[in-house]
Subunit: 766 residues, 2 copies
Amino acid sequence: MASLGDIGVAAAINILSVFAFFVAFAILRLQPFNDRVYFPKWYLKGLRSCPVHSGAFVHKFVNLDYRSYISFLNWMPSALKMPEPELINHAGLDSAVYLRIYLLGLKLFVPITLIAFTVLVPVNWTNDTLEHSHVTFNDIDRLSISNIPTGSKRFWTHIVLAYVFTFWTCYVLHKEYGLVESMRLHFLSSEQRRPDQFTVLVRNVPPDPDETVSELVEHFFLVNHPDHYLTHQVVYNANELADLVKEKKKMQNWLDYYQLKYSRNQSKRPRMKTGLLGFFGDEVDAIDFYTSEMEKISEEIEAERERIISNPKSIMPAAFVSFKSRWGAAVSAQTQQSRDPTMWLTEWAPEPRDVYWHNLAVPFVTLTIRRLIIAVAFFFLTFFFMIPIAFVQSLANITGIEKAAPFLKPVIEVHAIKAFIQGFLPGIVLKIFLILLPTILMIMSKIEGFISISYLERRSASRYYLFKLVNVFLGSIVTGTAFEQLHSFSHEPANNIPKTIGVSIPMKATFFITYIMIDGWAGVAGEIIRLKPLIIFHLKNFFMVKTEKDREEAMDPGSLGFNTGEPQIQFYFLLGLVYAVVTPILLPFVVVFFCLAYVVFRHQIINVYNQEYESAAAFWPDVHGRIIAALIISQLLLMGLLSTKQAAQSTPFLIVLPVLTIWFHRFCKSRFEPAFVRYPLKEAMMKDTLERTRERNLNLKEYLQNAYLHPVFKSGEDEDSDRVSAEWGQSSLVPTKRQSRMNTLLPGRFSGSSSPLLPEDIPEQD
Amino acid sequence: MASLGDIGVAAAINILSVFAFFVAFAILRLQPFNDRVYFPKWYLKGLRSCPVHSGAFVHKFVNLDYRSYISFLNWMPSALKMPEPELINHAGLDSAVYLRIYLLGLKLFVPITLIAFTVLVPVNWTNDTLEHSHVTFNDIDRLSISNIPTGSKRFWTHIVLAYVFTFWTCYVLHKEYGLVESMRLHFLSSEQRRPDQFTVLVRNVPPDPDETVSELVEHFFLVNHPDHYLTHQVVYNANELADLVKEKKKMQNWLDYYQLKYSRNQSKRPRMKTGLLGFFGDEVDAIDFYTSEMEKISEEIEAERERIISNPKSIMPAAFVSFKSRWGAAVSAQTQQSRDPTMWLTEWAPEPRDVYWHNLAVPFVTLTIRRLIIAVAFFFLTFFFMIPIAFVQSLANITGIEKAAPFLKPVIEVHAIKAFIQGFLPGIVLKIFLILLPTILMIMSKIEGFISISYLERRSASRYYLFKLVNVFLGSIVTGTAFEQLHSFSHEPANNIPKTIGVSIPMKATFFITYIMIDGWAGVAGEIIRLKPLIIFHLKNFFMVKTEKDREEAMDPGSLGFNTGEPQIQFYFLLGLVYAVVTPILLPFVVVFFCLAYVVFRHQIINVYNQEYESAAAFWPDVHGRIIAALIISQLLLMGLLSTKQAAQSTPFLIVLPVLTIWFHRFCKSRFEPAFVRYPLKEAMMKDTLERTRERNLNLKEYLQNAYLHPVFKSGEDEDSDRVSAEWGQSSLVPTKRQSRMNTLLPGRFSGSSSPLLPEDIPEQD
């Protein structure tokens, strides 16, 4: 176990490495050839089209202006400078509220740290239990609850502080929930007109022998919402078409490339080989080849499109139904339509770009079965994931490889290689699994049949958190695999579980401090340097980028990744709350994490990430719920710990805390959650009335007509904008771009150097 | 422990006593002077006004027609004869569906009994484990799972049967849920126009300094539901007024009595004393006195009414809002109105007679606090109710009484009296508590602030079931008080709990068989004879009934008592399911209970009970859920039992069952429950359209204007119908009466003796 000094050294090393990362970032960032890696958001928003390089210099790739390197940390204040409303306009409410989670961490833990250090540390330190005992101990332990003698009256301090921390947490959570709620409502009410405000997704349209799905939907809503129904759009099963369109896009890209090549060098028409990877097969004229291929595939696409539209089997029993007013849509989304609650299911349509088209037609009965299967699968994944991994590990040992590939024997038997295989291979198998885990969880969520990407991410996030809770938190505290824990816990008295875990809590403090520094601090510093995207971008740029469009694709920064990011933050909430009373020395590390992460992610959100969708902070109830769960876990563990300290009379005082916390959660749920699920009619009516007076001649039908057409169909309708809508994930960027330009800032504001929005640290003056 | 023979003797005795009850019932029922006790429903429906006595005989009180006594059981077929649709018309859907719970018990347990007896009994009987062991045992045990040697392969029979029974239970439950759902929907769609179809209750109208609640409500709904809002009715706090009206009614009754007396004997004006109970004080002319008193109180009522209407403080922040169409009301009830989900809360208005007026104005924050308090209180009531009872018992012992009242000492010291006090007093205290328990639970539900009587009853029912589960079921199986169990269970491994209970299950079979016979069989037989109402009616009729109205009140049969009745049935479901695999000999006793209860309650529902409200079987999800809970309990206990029998390999097979059952429950919940909570727009629209075409000139506003006026105000509006609306519970009968006459049968049909609806066993012919 590390002493306080050891921890100090480790912290110093980690701080230094974080600084090293920052310096590296400062240098890399200022090189114009990295501009598309570190500021892709500005390109995507159309506010920048080439790196801002100094005057007419040749340094197109390297920045030689020494002044710009001096203040290498000035991206931090500039990241913090953008006010929240502008941040919302710039990056969306989701991102702005996501940042508030880090801020919440600071609000929560800074006062807790202060109180804990002024009250708890002296109380713990001024004992000498550990000195008189014969256990090995260190300074960390002297600062923790372990230093209090059993049965001491001093435990009352801890109990009182548990109350104080609980009330503070609840207070902060309550305030934050209210704030996020009002931000969401304000955001929704000040938003521009969007198709999803008028549209409802209807699923499980019952089959009818006489009418098509389209007719059926129209009749149903004309009858049951006569004053409000406007139009609808059926959902096609267009997965094959999507593949073809993707193919066509790729060819278009090659064609562009060769035409560009030809236009530069008119003397020679470019030639290519038709076979594998362009290395084999007949050599043909490239432009002619791709032109004819393009024609062929265009015909195929047309045929497939015809087939889909004419074939009733490719029409799914679902439709996007649009209404004349937001009020009508709100009513339809919140009510039950038909007798049979499994038919004519209505719900708010997600944003067009948020729709996960693949899941639109899963029938109701399958849904519950799918969820049962996935629930069971997730249970096994959480508790038994070590079994297949151990199996793979056993295969991947020396003798296994020798058996499978005897010819490798001489190589493997070399000492260094043998050591490497034996030492690293098992670890790598586990690591690969952990890297793949979020993807696995995402696939599980997709199988469950949810229809919006935002919901899929939220679902995966909660699963990921559970996995981390069981396998990282409990797994580190109690030795043995999760399955062994499960087995032993089910054979233990129920009230022994918090005891067993609670007792180990103080002993694991140093481990978690190290964990916070390596996973938290270094992870965040690694985030800002974007090493993987940096390398990939340059590799792509060097080898694969043929056209401007390719470069744009190579630049694609992706979105924030709620499904992996949020569970990570939650883990620090859990650690902070659990250790707040037990070992307060851990708290500053958590606070530093939240500080760093807040600044870094604010910078990344402003400059890098590009959200795929906008859910208007629909994830907040999940965030709130998980912090509450962490709070309850911390209370139960404290109860377990104190009951072993012969402070048994404390149990009745501590049992009140989880009861109060659960009640608080239920209160918050009924007070705030509806704002994240439903759309109040009053708000809808207000927006409708306002719009009606402002725009009297609005042709809403035209506006909504094709909003929810499957993206692959759109490409057919305006042939020349193939590029825009070819792949739907890509196409979805377009409306945003337009929208955000519309309601945020004029591009002109960005070009002025005085604007606070401009990343000021880029050397603009010579 | 009783042997099979003992049980047989006990069963014979119980069957005989049940027959004795039936004979007593047959005799009592045919006496014309008991007619109002055994057939009050026909009086209340206005289909009978005086006992049907034979011709012009003098036997107005005693039936001397020997023929009518011969077939003393013929009330049974006649109770079963009424077809279900007519039963629904006659007694309402609630009662009809309530009977289906008994029928469900039969559907469930008759096949289970048959299978268990053909398969399990031979398998259990043909072992001799118990004979070779040195434990005392009896025939019952030989028939049970105890007779199988540990580790035997025969346990597979039990596991397979556990699967069979689970699937059968789920199948029956699923079918029944579907059936009840369609009955409910059919009932709702074929119903006559009712105010609650158009009305929504709005609560938590936010305070406004400029507008009254009434104006505020009107403006809000005119703005947000402009095409649908029709009218509204604010809610007054009229509890004092209600008291005054009650007082007036009592005086009116006395006045009627004296006037009747005077009209019979014109020679002497009746006189009375004004003091206590009419025994003390000045003697005055009774008619004059009550006439003047009536005038006084009428003035008071008028003043109070004025005060309530004019004083804004007596207007609660709630209102019943009525809409032009069912569609509008359905929309308003199912949507959120304002940003703040704690304001403008809308929900379907209960039927006017189902409203619990007292709870209409509980603010939202109080609600969650109240529920927290009640939840904690219920926890303590369930687990610690023995503590105050033991305390009272300790007070009520000999020395305690001697101390409190030393002068009683000589009396108490008499041997017989002492024995009585020591033997019975403690038991009586417990018994009184148990009798009061449903009332206590009802008061708890009322404190929680629910606004309809039907919901209060459902809430109390689920609490009562929980109490019975913990204190009767577990309390009988595991010795010790509930608190001791709680304590020991929390100190035991989680998977030991089903083991501990499971092992005791077979040993308690004889106890529960006796319980079924005494509580179930005899209870049901006692139900039909209605001993308490019979005695009370005759006492009242003899001593207190002054006027015809008094007689009607004395006759009041009350309603079915869902809050006590349903938990009792559920207890038999639990016993049946738990013992189905373990000790199948218990099953016939359960089947007999369900048979008897079905017939008896069908008779009672047809002839006696008068439902206070009609919730259209809104309780079915509760019933379904509790049977599922019983099924899961039975599966867990079987798992625990088998794991001690060294049939450990059985656990993985058995753990699948609760998982599947929970999944089945969730499936049913999403498939069927919405029909019990929401009102589909399609149905609303259909009814609206139909009504609009049928009745073009309907003045809906007039119809709805005063539907939700507090009952005490109605009495003021039509002074001459005071009697009808004086007390609201009473007044509520009127609309039903009219309604059911309207849409059921013509009274003429009842008078014909050939009608199947007529209780034929009443001697109509001489």
